[in-house]
């Protein structure tokens, strides 16, 4: 079972040396990574849009404005340094999310309401 993916696509012309992915030293002068969340329209939740580098929070917000809202995508920006993001472990996905499968009462279509009732 050694046939993993050999991708030959756009931009892939092979390397002279294999890419080093781990154990590389991080220069102290490199700006930390931040995750960016943007609220697009009044009333919608902030949504993760990507990440960027910045020296501090103020700069991260300004960079996010310039990078992720060039086409008026947002009206509110949150940033958080990526190292502070705690994520669930995908191996535990079953215990995390499956119990919600049978809680249909959390979903609006569970409720049988008369058709005359509009916009709810």
């Amino acid at each position: 079972m050694k046939t993993f993916i050999q991708i030959q696509r756009y931009g892939d012309y092979g390397d002279r040396e294999p890419v080093k992915a781990e154990g590389a030293t991080q220069n102290q002068a490199d700006w930390p990574l931040w995750e960016v969340f943007i609220r697009s329209k009044m009333g919608l939740d902030h949504k993760h849009v990507g990440s960027l580098h910045a020296a501090d929070a103020q700069m991260a917000i300004e960079n996010a404005r310039d990078v992720y809202t060039r086409r008026q995508e947002g009206i509110s920006i949150w940033v958080v340094e990526s190292k502070y993001i705690h994520a669930s472990n995908p191996d535990e996905a079953a215990s995390f999310y499956d119990p919600a499968n049978d809680k249909v009462y959390r979903h609006p279509t569970f409720y049988d309401l008369p058709d005359e009732l509009k916009a709810m």
Binding site: M1, T3, F4, I5, Q6, I7, Q8, R9, Y10, G11, D12, Y13, G14, D15, R16, E17, P18, V19, K20, A21, E22, A24, Q26, N27, Q28, A29, D30, W31, L33, G50, S51, L52, H53, A55, D56, M59, V67, R70, R71, A87, N89, P90
Partner: protein, 318 residues
């Protein structure tokens, strides 16, 4: 026992790919998959960043205020695309600094097209129409690629790219309706950019041993030659709107195949440019290295300032 466990993980991974379920950063993935993605995404990012240079070359000489503004916006978009892609690669455990180092030291490659010079204003139009056109054709299928962060970055990029291609075609269209000198400028740019553009799809299928496997893995939906043919068919029609010609005497509609036939590609040139012998390879990398080195004190100052402020805000421990 341990080996058995790995095979199961690999099987599960493959099942997910088969079912079109996206692979996400924290999911288990074969090391080879991760390495291949890092290489691929970073090369794509490098292409965006190096690609800023040939077009940026005309920002200060753009012939009208409107053209100047749209060109700045376009080159700036490319910086954004590079940034999205570097970010996607960073989810795989490599830092942007490492990737940039690989570019600057010549370990990582980028699209060979950006090693050609931009000699006239019409080149800006030709790049938009042909180079961005070829890029879009290559990139749209990547919106469905198996790695989630890469696919999401590509969705963003594809949305923005269509503006670039339209901008390029409009530049050429204006030239094609202009003075004799402008028409000649337009045809000349098409002549110089056509062949490098169709080389962008990569080696022919019979010289591209991984294609079959990638297709089986649903990573590639079309082969290099399929995409190239599609591009030639589209451009052969669009060039008529410009009243210009593609520089290929063998280009001819083949009713039987339902496609345009076209001439032989000079693959020797392709491999030479890829391996560093293009007209601008050294200049492009030198320009990137210069910007990076001259920016070093700026980046250091910003981090030093941030650290100082963080120290000040921390309450003194009694």
């Amino acid at each position: 026992m341990e080996k058995q466990a790995t095979i199961n993980l690999e099987q599960q991974f493959q099942d997910r790919v088969d079912q079109d379920i996206r692979i996400e950063p924290k999911d288990w993935m074969p090391e080879k998959y991760r390495q291949t993605l890092i290489r691929q995404i970073s090369q794509h990012a490098h292409s965006e960043i190096v690609g800023m240079l040939p077009e940026g070359n005309w920002i200060t000489r753009a012939p009208s205020l409107r053209r100047k503004a749209t060109l700045i916006a376009k080159v700036q978009d490319e910086a954004g695309h590079g940034l999205y892609l570097y970010s996607a690669a960073e989810t795989l455990g490599i830092s942007r600094a490492e990737m940039i180092d690989q570019l600057h030291t010549g370990k990582a490659k980028y699209s060979s097209i950006f090693n050609y010079p931009t000699l006239t204003w019409a080149d800006i139009g030709a790049i938009g129409w042909l180079v961005d056109g070829a890029a879009i054709m290559n990139q749209v299928p990547l919106c469905r690629t198996s790695y989630g962060p890469y696919a999401r970055a590509m969705v963003r990029i594809c949305k923005e790219e269509s503006f670039h291609q339209r901008q390029g075609f409009e530049i050429l269209l204006t030239l094609s309706r202009g003075t004799e000198a402008q028409k000649a400028m337009c045809q000349d740019a098409i002549n110089r950019w056509w062949w490098p553009s169709i080389m962008m799809f990569g080696p022919a299928d019979d010289a591209s041993p991984h294609t079959a496997q990638s297709m089986k893995w649903k990573i590639k939906r079309f082969t290099n030659d399929e995409l190239r043919q599609k591009f030639v068919d589209i451009c052969a029609e669009q060039v008529k709107i410009l009243g210009m010609e593609l520089p290929d005497p063998e280009l001819k509609w083949n009713a039987e195949r339902g496609h345009y036939d076209f001439g032989k590609i000079n693959w020797e040139e392709f491999w030479q440019v890829i391996s560093g012998n293009g007209p601008c390879n050294k200049e492009r990398i030198a320009a990137r290295v210069k910007a990076h080195e001259e920016g070093a004190w700026v980046r250091e100052a910003a981090i030093s300032f941030a650290n100082k402020r963080a120290q000040k805000q921390r309450p003194a421990v009694a």
